[in-house]
């Protein structure tokens, strides 16, 4: 490439697109971060729903297993869990494949990353959703049962709509955590925003161009999400009485 040395480029050129700029690398990293966060959050939400209902309405074994899951995951640092699962998940998948007589595969980093973060997210979402379900007035569920609704129908028609407003603040915080936790994948070499920033700044030595730019990108995501979750909560609380009177 016919680029001048990085020291001769302005911050504007360094952050720009094209041959000499790193803007596309950073944006690609941001895209990766958001994709992973979305995937992990969605999968974690599924785990959380099953975990929360298992914890509240499951049999004794399900209750104990979910309790062990949430306690263990929340007591061990995310980075350690990510590292353990990063080696364990592809290993386990390959064991299964080999025992089925198939060939070993190499799992794409993206899928491993999403699975690992979802496993962590799931534990936290279980707790948030459990709290939200508990805050649904008991009489509503009893009334639904008295109307002869099936359990699934009660969950879909009564519990979900009523718990949404209670769950939103916690779920919003967890979404922010999910976006920030994607940075941990930088440690295992996934090229998301933090890793891309590190590479860009290590190559050009322009630390105070790239880090503030990446932080601004993260902040943009955070602030947009805070606003969006605020709107969703306001929507979910439509028709509720304002407790402040």
């Amino acid at each position: 490439m016919a680029c001048p040395p990085a020291s001769q480029l302005s911050s504007f050129e360094l952050l720009g697109f094209g041959a000499c700029g790193w803007g596309d690398t950073l944006l690609l990293g941001l895209g990766n971060s958001i994709m992973i966060a979305l995937g992990a959050y969605a999968l974690g939400f599924l785990i959380g729903i099953f975990g929360a209902f298992g914890k509240l309405y499951g049999g004794p074994v399900t209750r104990d297993l979910t309790a062990i899951y949430t306690t263990l995951v929340r007591a061990v640092p995310e980075l350690v869990l990510i590292l353990i699962l990063y080696y364990a998940v592809p290993g386990a998948v390959n064991e299964v494949l080999v025992s089925l007589g198939r060939e070993r595969i190499i799992l794409p980093q993206f899928i491993t990353g999403v699975a690992v973060l979802a496993f962590v997210q799931g534990a936290y979402q279980t707790e948030v959703l459990r709290g939200a379900i508990l805050a649904v007035p008991q009489g509503q569920i009893e009334a639904a049962r008295a109307m002869g609704m099936s359990n699934l129908l009660i969950a879909r028609r009564i519990i979900f709509p009523l718990m949404t407003a209670n769950a939103m603040p916690g779920l919003g915080n967890l979404w922010l955590n999910a976006t920030k936790d994607t940075a941990l994948l930088a440690v295992i070499g996934f090229s998301e925003l933090t890793k891309a920033t590190f590479q860009a700044s290590a190559t050009t030595k322009a630390f105070f161009t790239f880090y503030p730019a990446a932080m601004a990108l993260y902040l943009m995501v955070s602030l947009t999400s805070i606003y969006a979750f605020g709107r969703i909560e306001a929507w979910a609380r439509t028709g509720q009485r304002d407790v402040r009177g």
Partner: protein, 258 residues
């Protein structure tokens, strides 16, 4: 005890014991007997605990003025405090650590005279950057918590203090701060666990705490899972100690009535 030992629990405990037995017999644990790794592990655990404790203390001390500035400060203090909390809470800790270590760390040598100053032997090492980054992180999160706690102190208390003729500083010292801190205390236990869980991030800037020691052992011995399992168990034990310590501490404090 009867309530705990239900039949399915006994089965689960047996399965757990069997799993542990399989782990102990089937996996490689000879490296644990190596005195070099033992001393490294002890050092690493000590560093993790030390980092958690020191940064929690510094962060809490910083959080009080940050909370105060947001509640009663003039705009030229309130806006920077709010901005600081937003930036710290809105960006990943890993990135904050790297900004300080790689960014500031590369800036310092270019400042003339700093290499000859007395500060240089300290600035050359990694731990000051780790302590600063982790403390600022605590300050950002706790500053927000302190803001809520300071706002939560009943207004009548402050008015009563004012009518007693207390000066503003005395009100802060005798009435406002103690009540705010008492409101915050239950959350500090949880925050300390979170802080412990973020210390592994400083291993990326060459600090040999527990996580880095496990990584080193894995590189030396080519054993993949065992050091990671030990790592998880160590963190769980430290977390347990923190939780128990705070429970004991909270029981000793007078309970707020009403």
């Amino acid at each position: 005890m009867r309530a705990f030992l239900q039949p399915h629990r006994i089965v689960m405990i047996l399965i757990a014991v069997a799993l542990v037995a399989v782990c102990v017999t089937q996996m490689r644990w000879d490296w644990l007997a190596n005195p070099k790794y033992q001393s490294l592990l002890v050092q690493g655990v000590w560093r993790s605990v030390w980092l958690t404790a020191v940064t929690m203390c510094i962060g809490m001390v910083l959080a009080i003025p940050i909370g105060l500035a947001q509640v009663v400060g003039p705009w030229y203090l309130a806006i920077p405090a709010r901005l600081f909390c937003t930036v710290i809470r809105g960006t990943p800790l890993l990135m904050q650590i790297w900004v300080l270590y790689y960014g500031l760390g590369s800036l310092f040598p270019s400042i003339p005279g700093i290499r000859d100053s007395v500060l240089w032997p300290i600035l050359r090492q990694a731990w000051p950057y780790a302590v600063v980054a982790l403390s600022l992180s605590v300050a950002g999160y706790e500053g927000e918590v302190m803001r809520g706690a300071l706002k939560g102190v009943p207004h009548g208390q402050l008015e009563a203090a004012k009518s007693m003729g207390m000066s503003r500083f005395t009100i802060l010292r005798r009435i406002w701060l103690p009540q705010a801190v008492q409101r915050v205390l239950p959350t500090i236990g949880g925050e300390t666990v979170l802080q412990l869980k973020s210390t592994p991030l400083v291993s990326t800037i060459t600090i040999m705490e527990t996580y880095a020691v496990a990584g080193r052992i894995r590189q030396d011995t080519f054993i993949i899972y065992e050091p990671l399992l030990v790592l998880a168990v160590i963190y769980m034990m430290i977390t347990g100690v923190i939780v128990l310590a705070f429970r004991w501490f909270e029981n000793r404090l007078p309970q707020r009535t009403a």
